[in-house]
Each structure stands twice: as C-alpha cells, then as structure tokens.
C-alpha cells in the first residue's frame, strides 16, 4: 500500500535523488550540548546589517541578555547564549571567510545558567507589535538562509497572504534537526504558527513534511489543534523539495514570478524550526540563545541532534563529539548546499542547521576527473528552475556572463547544486554559476 500512496504524493517537476543518509541520527532525541570555555558570537549571523554591540569588554552578562541591538530594520538583536564575562568585542572569522565583528564571551563555569525572561509578547498583540518582538528576539530563518524573519513577515500595503506554509521538508541529506523538532516540539510549532497567522493574516496553514518522516507527519496530525485551519501534507522525497519555490509549486500549484517574491502569489513560507523558536521565545520575551543542529557524517564519532549554544566554536564542537583520524572536510549544513568551514575557529550561528564531516573515503568520490560536457542532458532534467545548465556551463567557461544572464536566465538559479550532483563529467557547474552571478552583479553595479 505504501508504494501506491507514494506514487500519489505531491511534488515538483525535475530534481534529484541523493542518498538520504539520515538513518543514523533521525532516531536520536535532541540532547543539550555543553558550553564551550569561550563562545564567539558573530554580530552578523543574518542577511543584513550587523547588530550594534551594547556590551563592553569586561562586562558581566546574564544568559538571554541583549548584547547587540539591530542596526535598522534589516537587522536583528543578538542575545547572550550564556551567563558570563565579555572578554572582547573584536573581529572573528566567519563562514564566508571574511572577518566580522563578534562578542567573545566566557561562560561562568559555576553558574546555573538560568535564562533571563524579558517582556512577553502575548498572542493578542497587534501585528506590528509582534513584528517588533520578533526582531527583538533576533529570529532569522533557521533553514539556512538566515533572512530576518520580521522583514519577511512585514506585508506591504496592498499585498496579502492567503496561505502560510511551514517547511518541515528537510530535503538536505544527513540533516535531521527539523525532523526531531517536529517530533519533540510540536507544541511550540503550533504556538509559533498562531503568531505567524496573526501577523500575515493568512487563512490557512500547510505543514509540509517529506515522506521519509512519516512519524513526524503523524505526530503533527495527531497534535494539530482543532481550531487551526490547515493540514499536514506529505510530499514525495526529492531534492530540493524544501526550497520554497518548489513547495509553492508542489502544494499550491503556484509559481513565484521570476525575480519576484512569494507575496506576489499570496503565499509565505517559514521553516518549521523557526516557527518552533517563535513559539518558545515570544510568550517569554526571550531571544535566541541556542538552536538544534545535527552533527553527523562518516567522520563523526558521536553523531546526534544537539541543542547547541549560539557561538560555540567549531573546534570545540568537533572535539566534543570526536572525529575520525582521516577527517578530510567539515562543512556547515548538509552536503548539497553546505559551505565548507574555512577554519575551525568559525562559530555555530543561527543559520547553521548541521555540521557534517567527511572522511577521505567519503570525499574521494568528488575528486573524480573532469571530462568535457557530453551533452547527456542529466542537468537539464535535474534543474528545478528548468534552466539549461549544460549550455550555461559552456558559456561560463568562456566568461560570456551577459549572454548567460540575458538569454539563459542565469540569475534565476538558486544554487541548489542538482546539476553538479548529476553531472557525469564532474563539471563544477553550480560553482561556475555562483561566480558568474557575482560577475553579473558586479558589472551591473559598475554600470549603475
């Protein structure tokens, strides 16, 4: 009976089927991660302007206390993940390879680490009050993009949202954080949904779950509050099903206009872990101090789903879980879109959904020789945006950036990596497109 149902499941066109590799951690309950002796909290963990530090070197802070205030609307607050002493306010390495302003915090070893509550934001607040509270709680999209949530929720005059989609797809191989959050924090998720419905004015909510998490879908259905208008939809297992554009076409049969916003099709998508954070933080007036991440991959000895303080250095994390001697590559996020850590001194931030470490053997397969494009068309059949990665790749090799952008819709690529994944010639297509997009933006900026 299951295969028959699977055939009837909703999905989008194209996409790929990487091995899921989730079995080793999907059954492990979320565990609390200890405090590192020194937390390094970058003040840019989101898309937008860095937060402005409101603490000084040598100052003692309580866990949950605000240590950074937003610099304008496109910015969020930052909170202390632990009670401790501010050692420094200085630059620190970030995942992009650039140095960013950060707060170095030394947790008090003997502290009970009670969390400081702020002013609660009750559900009957006005949408604007809730939006301000979300910005103050420092909430950003926890799926990986780390876009400030309050910015997304600010519906401009004349626009409206009819459907709110809660994204519990988690299509990245290896990662199981959303899966565990759905199983263990459904109450917070539904509280968060109530806030989101209130702010957006949406009539209904759809919680999207991939078919490889039947327990999560069932649990959410069982606990779905009777007074909420909405449903839990199980989607076919396929990458990148969790991209919001793919969710809109699978669930609503609507396409976000090219270069447009989800608001143009009256929909809004929010990650399930983000909803859970809202449900936890807003009623207590707290800010984000920790998040759930999956630490996994062939090189990790004690794999698991951990609730980890923001600012935990990668080196401490890896030492704590233990890594194999032949560890070769560590990246933040899953294997399809995750960025390689440029150094072990970078920290876990709000947008980090997982840490994956590969051994030499696991990484070997990506060292295969590069062949010329044989026009097999695998990438054309994989691209969820229906681009022509083969031709784009050839154009990129000869740096014909304007042709790529003007005639082959380069700028619509959202860098899911499906084309590189299927390419039998092992051409680093998506990397070429990232570089090409940067070149196009640069020349546009130069022209303007």
């Amino acid at each position: 009976m299951r295969p028959m149902r699977l055939l009837g499941l909703k999905t989008f066109r194209h996409g790929v089927h990487p091995p899921e590799s989730k079995d080793e951690t999907s059954g492990l309950p979320i565990r609390q991660f200890p405090f590192a002796p020194l937390l390094i909290i970058p003040l840019v963990q989101h898309m937008g302007a860095p937060s402005i530090p409101v603490v000084e070197e040598g100052q003692e802070v309580e866990r949950g206390q605000r240590i950074g205030r937003p610099d304008g609307f496109m910015s969020v607050s930052m909170h202390a993940p632990a009670s401790g002493l501010v050692r420094r306010v200085a630059l620190a390495p970030s995942i992009t390879g650039r140095m960013v302003p950060a707060v170095y915090l030394e947790p008090f070893p003997g502290s009970t680490q009670e969390i400081e509550n702020g002013t609660p934001c009750p559900l009957d607040s006005t949408p604007d009050e809730i939006i301000a509270a979300i910005q103050d709680a420092g909430v950003v999209g926890l799926g990986g993009a780390a876009f400030p949530t309050h910015v997304k929720l600010k519906i401009p005059e004349g626009k409206f949202v009819d459907t709110l989609i809660i994204n519990g797809v988690e299509c990245e191989p290896f990662l199981t954080t959303d899966h565990r959050v759905m199983l263990e924090e459904s109450k917070d998720i539904f509280t968060g949904i109530r806030y989101l419905l209130k702010v957006t004015g949406a009539e209904r909510v759809i919680i999207a779950v991939e078919a490889n998490k039947p327990d999560a879908a069932e649990h959410l259905r069982e606990t779905f509050p009777a007074d909420l208008n909405g449903s839990v939809e199980v989607l076919q297992v396929k990458y990148p099903q969790g991209a919001e554009k793919m969710l809109f076409s699978a669930l609503l049969d609507r396409e976000v206009p090219s270069r447009g916003l989800p608001l143009d099709i009256h929909a809004l998508c929010c990650n399930v872990a983000t909803a859970a954070q809202l449900g936890q933080l807003l009623p207590r007036g707290r800010g984000i101090q920790e998040r759930v991440i999956t630490v996994t991959g062939p090189a990790v000895k004690r794999k698991g789903n951990y609730r980890i303080p923001i600012g935990t250095p990668l080196r401490f994390l890896l030492e704590h879980v233990g890594v194999a001697d032949d560890v070769n590559r560590v990246f933040l996020g899953g294997p399809m879109m995750g960025a390689t850590a440029p150094s072990l001194e970078v920290s876990i931030t709000k947008g980090t959904s997982g840490v994956t470490a590969f051994t030499n053997t696991a990484a070997e397969r990506t060292h295969s020789p590069v062949y010329p494009c044989i026009r097999c068309g695998y990438c054309v059949d994989a691209c969820p945006i229906f681009l022509d990665p083969s031709t784009l790749g050839r154009l990129a090799a000869t740096e014909q950036f304007s042709t790529m952008a003007d005639e082959y819709n380069l700028m619509d690529c959202f860098e899911c990596g499906s084309c590189s994944f299927v390419c039998p010639s092992h051409i680093p297509l998506v990397q070429r497109f990232r570089a090409s997009k940067a070149a196009v933006r640069k020349s546009k900026a130069g022209a303007a």
């Binding site: 990487p18 976000v256 996020g333 294997p335 062949y371 945006i385 022509d388 083969s390 990596g417």
Partner: protein, 340 residues
C-alpha cells in the same frame, strides 16, 4: 582532534551521483557486446575481423592524435571504443579490411578530433567515417556476403583481404539485403527472419532482438534517452504505415520498415549518442521524428535502398538548434509576464 591535520575546502555539493562519463561509455560498450557477438556468429571470421579492425583503427588513431598533440590519452573514457564498435557494425562484413581501417581513421580524425574531441563533435563520428566510405567505395559498401554461410569460421570471403588501394574481387555468392530486395524487385522478407537476423546486411544490423536487449539495458540504467528511439520508431511506423495503407503493393509494410536495414541499430545506438543529440525532452521527440521521416523518404523515393545514416547525420546537424527552439519555459516566467 589531532593538530596539524589538513582539511580540504571545496564548494558544494559535497556528494555526487556516482555517474561518470567513463562508466556510461563502458556500459554502452557492454550493451553492444551481444550485437557484436551475434555479428561474429552470423558472419564468422569476416565479422570478427571487420569489428576488430574497426575498433583497433579508431582507438589507435585517437591515441596517436593525443600523443601528437601532447595531451593525455583519452582512450580510457571508452567513447572511442563505442565509435569503433558502432562503425564496424555498420559495415558490410566482406568489406576489404584496408577500407575498414581507412574509415576508422576518418571516424576519429575527421568526425571527432577535428571538432575538438569528446563532447564537441557535431556529428556521430562512426557515421562520419561510414559516410565517407559510402561516397568513396560505393560498390564495396553495398556488396553483402550472406550470413550463416557454411565454413564461415574457417575461411574468409575473397574481398576481405584485398590489398590496399586495389579493387576487391567478390565471390559469386554476394546477396542482396532485404531493403534492396524490396526496392529493386519488390520482394518482401519474412518478419521473423528480420527480427532474428537470418538475412544479409551490415555486420551488426541484422539482429533486431539483440539490439533491443542492449537498448533496454541502457534505458533501465538511465544511460540512454528512450525518447529518441521511441520517436524514431513511432514516426517510421506512422509514416510508412500511412503509405502502406495508400498502396500496399508499392510501399513496404511498416513492420518491414522498422525491422529492416540499419534502423534498429541507428535508432537505438547511433541517434542516441549523447554528444550529437538534443538534450531537451521536446527536442528529442522532434529529433526522433525528423530522423524517422527522412529515413522513410530516402528509402521510398531516394536512389538508395537505405537512408538511416543520412537521416541521423541530418538530425545531428539539427540537434543544437532543436535544443534552442525547445528550451523550456523557466520557473516563474509566466508570473513574470502577468506581473508586468
């Protein structure tokens, strides 16, 4: 963790599907082996020598060109082996071996390397070589020895060992292919004989069954675009079927058209060459339909009994254009128009 360990920085994605050009090409070679085996079974030593000389001449040419241009040898990607096998399978088994060798050099040097090597050839290299031979040696290329001759494993046809640059002599027993029989004397061949290969013809064109087995294997492994053979078979069937309905005495039956000559081999293994065929789904259907229609036009109204080779070469020329004409509408393009 131990200090002094080196970590690698690479861009995502960090996993690959595991498909590789050389594995795809090697599997195509595997899929061709039953066809080649049947060729040897049907034509004996002549078949074996034709295939061997074809493969060796192609592989050696590619290797020598790589050496001459100081590039690492590309023989290991197996694609030139496919070219050699396919080229050999399209030749009449009694063809003088020196001609086979000349054609092999042309396949690789003119059909592949001159265009830039793997991935850049506009036309199927095997067919380029064959087309040159067809033009240069029209008689030798249409002199067929019968299959299943007694003593085929112990003796060779006279023509096979002809000295280079001399004209071949033929045994008394050359015979006509089913297409030629139909074209020039309106004589039909039983479908079962066509399917099983109990006929005369080019080395690897005679057994539709083994060709289809190889094709199905590649389709099952997602190493062949099934849309191309499907479109070719459909267009051949519909077009020749329509003609057959008009006048069954003048036009051959669609079943005969499907199973005779090089259609099966061409549609399954030549037209589907990834490099020279379109990439989009709609492009593949149009490409297949074009090849099917042109084949029937040449077979029915052209001067030659067979037209698959020219039909595919014409299709190859159209392939990049078909890709451009059938480029899919991107996600969100409709909304863009509505919004503006």
């Amino acid at each position: 963790m131990a200090s002094g360990k080196t970590l690698e920085i690479r861009t995502s994605p960090h996993i690959l599907s595991g498909y590789s050009v050389d594995t795809i090409m090697f599997n195509v070679v595997l899929a061709l082996l039953p066809v080649a085996g049947f060729c040897v079974f049907a034509f004996g030593l002549a078949g074996l020598l034709t295939l061997s000389v074809a493969v060796v001449s192609c592989v050696v040419t590619e290797d020598l060109i790589c050496r001459a241009t100081s590039k690492p040898s590309t023989v290991g990607d197996w694609s030139v082996t496919i070219t050699g096998l396919l080229y050999g399978l399209t030749l009449p088994p009694g063809l003088p071996l020196w001609m086979t060798a000349v054609g092999g050099v042309i396949c690789v040097a003119l059909g592949k390397t001159l265009f830039g090597g793997l991935g850049y050839n506009t036309f199927n290299p095997a067919l380029v070589g064959r087309a040159v031979l067809q033009a240069a040696f029209p008689v030798a290329m249409t002199s067929w020895i019968p299959g299943f001759a007694a003593g085929r494993f112990s003796s060779l046809p006279l023509s096979t060992l002809t000295l280079p640059f001399t004209s071949p002599e033929y045994d008394a027993i050359t015979s006509a292919t089913p297409l030629a029989l139909w074209k020039f004397s309106r004589e039909a061949t039983a479908t079962s004989d066509l399917a099983m290969g109990f006929i005369s013809g080019s080395a690897g064109e005679t057994s539709s069954v083994f060709i289809l087995i190889g094709g199905l294997y590649l389709i099952a492994r997602n190493m062949m675009n099934w849309r191309i053979p499907a479109a070719i078979f459909a267009s051949v069937f519909v077009f020749s079927g329509a003609l057959y309905l008009v006048d069954p005495t003048r036009y051959a039956s669609p079943i005969f058209m499907l199973f005779s000559g090089g259609l099966m081999l061409g549609a399954t293994f030549m037209a589907t060459d990834m490099v020279s065929s379109p990439m989009t789904s709609r492009g593949c259907y149009l490409y297949g339909a074009l090849i099917g229609v042109v084949t029937i036009v040449i077979r029915t109204w052209g001067g030659l009994p067979e037209g698959v080779m020219y039909a595919i070469l014409l299709g190859n020329a159209f392939a990049p254009h078909l890709d451009r004409w059938t480029r899919p509408t991107i996600y969100g393009a409709k909304g863009k128009e509505a919004a503006t």
